[in-house]
Symmetry: D3
Subunit: 220 residues, 6 copies
Amino acid sequence: MFLQIENFLTSAEVTAVAEIARQAKFVDGKRSNPHNPTKDSAIADPADPVAQKASQIAMTAFQRSEQARNFAFPQRMAAPYLARYGTGMKYGPHIDAAYLPLGAQPLRSDVSCTIFISAPKEYDGGDLVAHVGTEIVRIKGEAGSAVLYPSTMLHQVVPVTAGERLVIITFIESQIPDQLQRDMLYSLGEVRALEALKMDWRNRVQLDYVIQNLHRMWST
Amino acid sequence: MFLQIENFLTSAEVTAVAEIARQAKFVDGKRSNPHNPTKDSAIADPADPVAQKASQIAMTAFQRSEQARNFAFPQRMAAPYLARYGTGMKYGPHIDAAYLPLGAQPLRSDVSCTIFISAPKEYDGGDLVAHVGTEIVRIKGEAGSAVLYPSTMLHQVVPVTAGERLVIITFIESQIPDQLQRDMLYSLGEVRALEALKMDWRNRVQLDYVIQNLHRMWST
Amino acid sequence: MFLQIENFLTSAEVTAVAEIARQAKFVDGKRSNPHNPTKDSAIADPADPVAQKASQIAMTAFQRSEQARNFAFPQRMAAPYLARYGTGMKYGPHIDAAYLPLGAQPLRSDVSCTIFISAPKEYDGGDLVAHVGTEIVRIKGEAGSAVLYPSTMLHQVVPVTAGERLVIITFIESQIPDQLQRDMLYSLGEVRALEALKMDWRNRVQLDYVIQNLHRMWST
Amino acid sequence: MFLQIENFLTSAEVTAVAEIARQAKFVDGKRSNPHNPTKDSAIADPADPVAQKASQIAMTAFQRSEQARNFAFPQRMAAPYLARYGTGMKYGPHIDAAYLPLGAQPLRSDVSCTIFISAPKEYDGGDLVAHVGTEIVRIKGEAGSAVLYPSTMLHQVVPVTAGERLVIITFIESQIPDQLQRDMLYSLGEVRALEALKMDWRNRVQLDYVIQNLHRMWST
Amino acid sequence: MFLQIENFLTSAEVTAVAEIARQAKFVDGKRSNPHNPTKDSAIADPADPVAQKASQIAMTAFQRSEQARNFAFPQRMAAPYLARYGTGMKYGPHIDAAYLPLGAQPLRSDVSCTIFISAPKEYDGGDLVAHVGTEIVRIKGEAGSAVLYPSTMLHQVVPVTAGERLVIITFIESQIPDQLQRDMLYSLGEVRALEALKMDWRNRVQLDYVIQNLHRMWST
Amino acid sequence: MFLQIENFLTSAEVTAVAEIARQAKFVDGKRSNPHNPTKDSAIADPADPVAQKASQIAMTAFQRSEQARNFAFPQRMAAPYLARYGTGMKYGPHIDAAYLPLGAQPLRSDVSCTIFISAPKEYDGGDLVAHVGTEIVRIKGEAGSAVLYPSTMLHQVVPVTAGERLVIITFIESQIPDQLQRDMLYSLGEVRALEALKMDWRNRVQLDYVIQNLHRMWST
């Protein structure tokens, strides 16, 4: 469901991205979702070469994070982009679009990812709030941490009431589109990683039989 | 996902159930899940006629609650039972069993339901905590309220540190086993209930076309 | 199911295609389906640069038609081609092949499309007849109109008894292969387009929640 | 898709049902669909023993019709009921409800069935019109004939402009809920019935292998 | 896939069934599959009270065999029946029918079961041969053993060339119709049974999370 | 399920591959599956141009084999590679990985393929043994023959006890991932190939209707 990863970016990377954000050109965030009147943030211009460096840092971090890959089963990833919420800015309740433009073939967003650049103490409000029916999950990560969650959930960024919230956002098309299936295969993978060496080899083979075949079955 | 319903029981019903709990025979909660060593609670003996009155009250409440029915698409329901967590008691992280014995045909638990009899001020600790990956949802409902949530989630009752937590528990086999599908059909039903009268009749017919056919498709 | 679109081509485009047909090289229609002995029509040689202009006109028309895109959820499209049925010609009952050659990766035909170049008064017979079990749907569109229908249906072109029937044919691989699912998502999209502005924003968000998640679920 | 069956009732049965209709008690048709303001017909009171005889005649006819069973793969059937459209009556465009009350377990309507008691010459208008997108299928069967069609289609009864239209209506829950799957298995069954004796026994066994396994796969 | 279970019946039960077979009334085996001309065996008359005792013995054995239940996930079972292949008898290649009559609701055969009463040395030929494409699996079990296999496979009993082959046959409708899914859930259950006590409790909970949710997902 | 194809390679091709094997550079087979400690074989270095000639011969053979294509419904194929089992070598029970690296997009292995270069008389042991539950299928093909089987099966190569076993291995991503669906569509294709000319054209069209639509439905 949700996966928070501490130190997804190193502190050097966080500093580098924060510096990029000071130099990059920002445009109205509605550009990435023109139909949503409640979106009030600024995003770094994807065409700006300075901003593209931040995108590259995030992409590299994703590829090196075994935890992120094991959880998201990434097939393709959208170009990550910087988003800035100044005081008073917000993004009302919304659902991420099913498809984003990406080269010749649109990308289906199955997993959404927020990487926190600002530290929690640098801004008031600005929590990422996911609606799980009448309950909510409220997230305000440490600088350098990332949170991954299913793109199928209604969520919002509540108004920043002081300071500035700087994050990197991206979307992942997964080999395993269904959230519960993805969670189950991730769980089995964790069990194998932590317990396989203690197992009788016959049981290890049986567990692998299930894992490989679930991966086949659910990724088609 | 989660649905909290206020005043699911009337205050008279809450009082009646609390009185039943004082008279009913309670047995070790492991009886309903003998394999889980972390279960430490008492449940009312399902064979006790006094306890069955509480079960009946809960069943009636469910059947009269349009909101509960619209959300859960109930096909069958297990007999609700009283559970009591005295000080120090708890139920460790667990997943509800896929099937429960119920007459000639086992019942698949798709939706889990907790009805709060004790008021939050009557006990410390004892929150229902659902794990949505590395995040949690924490619920402690008002007396008479109910919470419904997918049986597919890991959850626990954290230790009661003072007082006593009295609840009624039940499980629902849904016409629509998949949680996201159930959520979507519930959402469309709400849109129809709240917006249909404003719509052009052609669009109302189109919306009904989708709702009826999704119901067919997903309940098979 | 079926979608007729009037003025899919402008009258200038119809005139241009009719002129192309007079100049292009035509070959035996069996070339596109050698196994079907009942196919008796002529198709423009796909290698003929003159014929390719007609193909380009049809492709452009498809891309600009929001209605066609909303209905078919196109992922890829086969190169449209001109087909000519002179007096006495026909195409007996058949099912369109599941896959057509298209570059490195065959194209699955989910939606079939006929664009009418000849006006109905220019030929007798030559109706497109789709078999929906023991009933039939009979279509003879205006010049410039298009009809889209599921490739899963048995259909035929009945013999032309006088004049000449000139059409452009193409096949679409859809993001949403199942016909009923495609119809339902199209219907919800129409409801949103026509009713969203009248709705309470909470209901609009709920409707969008369903539309985006159905799009995800059914296109995977 | 659609299946028209001639002589579904014998002429003696048609006469018997017409006589029953003269004696039975009719009530407002809205009773079977109170939410649809466009329903304007009369239905025989299901509690009336006279009307129940007509229901029994229809049920018996269904059970003896091999064609109907091969097409619908019936699991359960709702009690058929008489419907009468006098001059000026109609039933506007609608979708049949996904579920109908039927004893302890609601019945999912997958296949809808109309049995014609009045002959076409006995009334003007009153066609059953099914919407297959922007096209329509228009049906006005002979007395004693029946038409079966998927409950997933929008359809209507256009106003009767003279005379009276008497029909029996029922709904079938199918072993095979998906319409295209039902059609394909029906088609394979027809091929086997008509061609198996000409086949090499190895091919007959292969065909049976497919038919039995599709039946398993799609009815679960 | 295949599961051979030794000592499914005790030797006392084998003796009892063999004695029953000497007393019971046998009829032509085509009675259970009249359309298959290659069936040449005798089956005990299901209406014969003597034969019903053998049926009861087999049913009891199935219910006490945890291995059989864990493998087949039985929902319902057809009444087991005795089948006798005298010298020269056989059952040509065939596929078990998708549905068998069983009370009010036909039973879908997902798992086929043969219980061997005769010992292999009592007859020549008579192997159960399952076709897995161009390869075969050949089974001739010990007296008292049982073999369970998917009903989706082509199989045959090759001619008995000497002696007599006595078996009990039955068919199981499974909670989990798909064979690969059933195999995977069985495998995970075995891993849990054999390894859970060695595991960290967190991993045990994760494994249970997957097992219970797969059971839900695949049995619906 | 399994398909053995005789003379998949011509004897000239077998001779050519055997000669290539004498010249090519071989590396430890664990390279293609580093996590499996029971893998003990040598594989030709995929980067060696000499070895690539063997790969090309195998690929060409696959593309010309109508039987292989009809059975596997290939979408993509991994580069075939030579594997050599000297005396004492083996590959313990394992399941083929769900995904193999292949250019920009990993290849899902649905069908596994072994092409036999050594003749059975050239080595003792070394059988390919597939586990179908408690039963096994044992294969030792003629030189030049190939066997295709589902990648979802546990299998092994038992120890070579004398001589040397030389094979080519490859993996196919199928348009139709599910094994039973693939088998059924292959069976229907065989029935059509062998029986269509004897059929009434209406039945041939119905059979084609089913084949094309199953192909659509299962390849999406």
